[in-house]
């Protein structure tokens, strides 16, 4: 049925917003992490959505998520007592901006909600269509 393609579009939107939420949660969880044994520091990541290339593609996957690293200089925190502090007493931490992450959380939840609304609208339409001619 045609209505199922509307469901697919909304489902890809929902999956995209879910991924954004997951990524934001990961950024927040790693906000205060330090370099690991190999000296790698956690890089804050972002989800970038690309629209499906053709219309036929829209029906399969309306939005194609990509996870990109937000290249940012590490945040230097002055903590001289920390075992990993450098000569000046600074330690590097991932440059996670809590305000940005909170904004991401809110927009992800609202975006998910909007996709659910769109799906419910398609469902209501289908159910109304099935009421045609009912006694």
């Amino acid at each position: 049925m045609n209505y199922f393609s509307a469901f697919e579009i909304s489902a890809s939107g929902m999956a995209f917003e879910r991924l954004r939420l997951d990524v934001t949660a990961m950024n927040l969880a790693n906000a205060n992490s330090v370099r690991d044994a190999q000296g790698n520091l956690y890089q804050p990541v972002r989800v970038v959505g690309k629209a499906g290339r053709s219309f036929g593609n829209y029906l399969q996957q309306a939005v194609v998520p990509h996870i990109v690293a937000a290249a940012q200089a590490p945040r230097l925190v002055h903590e001289p007592n920390h075992p990993l502090a450098d000569a000046q007493g600074f330690i590097a931490m991932p440059n996670v901006n809590p305000v940005d992450e909170m904004l991401n959380l809110v927009t992800a939840v609202r975006g998910y909600e909007a996709n659910v609304r769109a799906m419910n609208a398609a469902r209501t339409m289908a159910l109304r269509a099935l009421e045609i001619g009912a006694r």
């Binding site: 049925m1 209505y3 199922f4 469901f7 909304s10 489902a11 929902m14 999956a15 879910r18 659910v116 799906m119 469902r123 289908a126 159910l127 099935l130 001619g133 009912a134 006694r135």
Partner: protein, 102 residues
């Protein structure tokens, strides 16, 4: 109702009758209503099984995401509703014929 309208009705009825008379000579259509109905039944069953498996996976904690399961449930519901409505119309038509005066 004016006479012209009645006459026009007669003309239409005549046409319908002649069309009905020509019916047996026409070859049976490739896809009959029956095959369509059977297809819809199997599609509905497939959707129901899919939804059931989705719920099962969710209960086992294997489902990737909640919305896919809910969408599968909705799709199964819609497909089932379509078949139910077609069945309702069929039964209505049957009862209409049954009530027909001979």
């Amino acid at each position: 109702m004016s006479i012209e309208v009645i006459a026009a009705t007669g003309a239409v009825a005549g046409k319908a009758l002649s069309a009905a008379g020509a019916l047996p000579s026409r070859p049976a259509p490739e896809a009959s209503f029956e095959t369509w109905l059977v297809q819809q039944f199997s599609a509905t069953n497939a959707k129901l099984v899919e939804a059931d498996q989705g719920v099962r996976r969710l209960a086992l904690g294997e489902a990737d995401n909640l919305h896919q399961v809910m969408i599968a449930l909705e799709e199964a519901k819609l497909q089932f509703e379509l078949v139910v409505q077609v069945r309702n119309r069929l039964v209505e038509a049957y009862q209409d014929i049954l009530r027909m005066r001979i």
